[in-house]
Symmetry: C2
Subunit: 411 residues, 2 copies
């Protein structure tokens, strides 16, 4: 597997565009991703009972539609908690995008257009602006790097940087690419959050294989990150596969399945980690690895509980070696373990330091711990001593800035 | 039921003291509560798998001991994650307190002394200081208001005020009193948190009745508050009943059971709400009431989810009528409901305003909403339209101050 410069247009046959249609004050807020050929596709969605209108639209397509061609995304307004009007507006967006694509010689039906929205909840979409934007956006679709960047910019909300990734690997004798883009920031939490992630590949997979693979990958990537513990109304991961690499169709029996799976997970994990790095107000990137748990699920539950704890996060903000809070968060994770067998250490570029060994506190050098914890990227290693389960979760600190951003997000 | 000025010494036969033994820099940090007569007792404890040493001690007494006489509490050090040394230290504290009480003519055994600790996690108790403190504290036990206040001060950590309550009611023709004190601040969350709460009563109840009643009361009081979502290693609620009012023994068959139960719950709820009012960095007190849910448990889950959401809490910090976040938090509560039937309104001393009606956003006056939300006490009312279940939860906003306090708690 080779890591490329690139994003959503890296795979053969995908083009994109990103423009400003006026939902945000000045910035880009409308993105379109299109495939020349119809795509197998898969989706993973928020578990929140309150689902934004576009989530319902996409879930219906995933359930009932065989192929799609495009994804239309707006930022600035989530079209969530918008009642019946929201449902109608999503439908219009798909329908307008299909017409717009058809007008530029990419014949598309409304049910071939997935729709995503992100931004403020509870206000109706200003459809006049959206309509004008959709009429315009298909006219300048390109397959180059710049087009991918425009699209990546247009899906951002409080994100401070765009999140893109692309890789290439050989399937048989054909190079296959997987590219993607995501937006995150606040509300990022295990089991999805206001997070949109889009992956395109020119590999060939059946809809069923793609859906199964996505389900598996989500568990180890997006579900292992936390910014603030809230699960949003709009979380969506969509994958399109257009088979245009000409490589043989992949399934679990293929000799290249494992390497494709690995590359696919790499792409999702890279985007998930980028989301956490850009968590609202985040100053630190925290990686928690649990080893020796009863099983993988226990290890992941333990790691997730640590990155989700407000108290742990605030301690990292203060670069405070407050390992008691880490053990405490493990204790309420729901996973079984014996606190008396736990060892904990911190690690960063400045070195590593053990603070708890077999359940017994280690008298450690506070000054050295501080030096390690003052780094922007810090690892926590927890050895549990129960079995062979391991898992990693990613999170960020809880800062003044998080409170500032979220204390007045709407204005 | 009459509300009295008073606290842990309000009921007949209870005396207390609070002193500084040096665990904190200057403030009081050791409290003792004693009953003249042996007491029926009950306890509710943290659900965290990582339990502080004193929690294990108290749980053992609740399970195996028939009566107790005293509670010894230190603040400044939680004696949690302290390994075997912690277990030995708790045992010593009970044993030293028993000796100290016996020396002032209150014959007590070590297994008649409940022990609680709160404060920093992971550092061994400075036992030399604790020993000297225990030797001294029993010498000045008093049953007056001032003694109760001293004890209430000595159990505080980052609390900014003491939390005390006392009530009186008639059981038969005898006045019976229930008094209590608590400490809270950070880490307060449904299913207990670093919260210590102590209740004394001169009513007469069997240990079994008292334990059942406490279990029921905890669900509607401490389990309905949230400060930051963390569940601590030390959470403990202890109740002592010494029967010294001379009133008849109470059980579920007693004619006065319901009124005692109501008074008992009032005391716990008053302390729970005081804890939330004093949440770390809290500037607002938020009461969320859900009506029309499928059942009481659903209503409580919905209300709890709202007060626990970091995004909702940050919105309240900014006095922002961000009702979408409230609906969103309800959506991931785990309770079943139809978002299309939900109505939401805000209320404070400045009036009330509906923002969502039957799942449809209401165009409301933002300026008026701001005026209502700028108040220090704000109510959220959610009507769900599924059944007759109702529930109330209490929480606070998420402020810069929370981050400041918890970013450097240890120093």
């Amino acid at each position: 597997m080779k890591i490329l410069e690139g994003g959503i247009t890296a795979a053969t046959g995908f083009s994109a565009n990103g423009i400003a249609c006026g939902l945000k004050k000045r910035k880009k807020d409308l993105a379109l991703v299109v495939s020349e050929q119809p795509c197998s596709f898969a989706g993973a969605f928020t578990t929140n009972l309150v689902k934004a209108a576009p989530v319902s639209w996409d879930q219906d397509l995933v359930k009932n539609q065989k192929t799609v061609k495009a994804i239309l995304i707006n930022s600035g307004n989530a079209n969530a908690c918008t009642g019946d009007q929201g449902i109608r507006d999503t439908h219009s967006m798909a329908s307008l995008a299909a017409a717009s694509l058809t007008s530029v010689d990419i014949p598309t039906t409304e049910r071939e257009v997935l729709v995503c929205s992100t931004g403020i909840i509870g206000l109706p979409l200003p459809m006049e602006k959206v309509e004008k934007g959709i009429a315009k956006i298909a006219k300048d679709l390109k397959a180059d790097r710049e087009a991918a960047q425009k699209a990546a910019q247009a899906i951002c909300t409080t994100d401070t940087f765009t999140k893109e990734v692309a890789v290439e690997l050989m399937i048989g004798d054909k190079p296959v690419r997987i590219g993607g883009m995501a937006k995150g920031s606040g509300m990022i939490h295990p089991n999805m959050a206001t997070m949109l992630s889009f992956i395109t590949t020119d590999a060939s997979l059946s809809k069923e294989s793609l859906q199964a693979l996505l389900g598996e990958s989500v568990i180890d990537s997006y579900n292992m990150i936390s910014v603030d513990g809230d699960t949003s109304t709009n979380d969506t991961v969509l994958v399109l596969a257009n088979a245009m690499s000409g490589s043989p169709q992949l399934d679990e029996q293929s000799p290249d399945w494992e390497s494709f799976k690995e590359a696919f997970l790499f792409v999702h994990t890279a985007l998930a980690k980028a989301i956490v790095r850009d968590g609202e107000g985040a100053g630190k990137f925290i990686e928690v690895t649990v080893t020796g748990a009863l099983d993988k699920a226990s290890a992941q539950a333990l790691a997730r509980s640590v990155v989700s704890s407000s108290l742990v996060k605030a301690a990292f903000f203060g670069s405070d070696a407050n390992w008691g809070r880490i053990l405490c968060a493990m204790g309420y994770s729901g996973a079984e373990f014996d606190p008396a067998k736990v060892s904990l250490s911190f690690k960063s570029e400045k070195g590593s330091i053990e603070v708890l060994s077999g359940g017994q506190p280690v008298g450690f050098d506070e000054k050295r711990a501080k030096t390690i914890l003052l780094e922007r990227e810090v690892e926590v290693h927890a050895k549990v001593g129960e079995g062979n389960g391991s898992g990693t979760a990613w999170g960020c600190d809880l800062s003044y800035e998080y409170v500032r951003i979220n204390g007045d997000y709407r204005s």
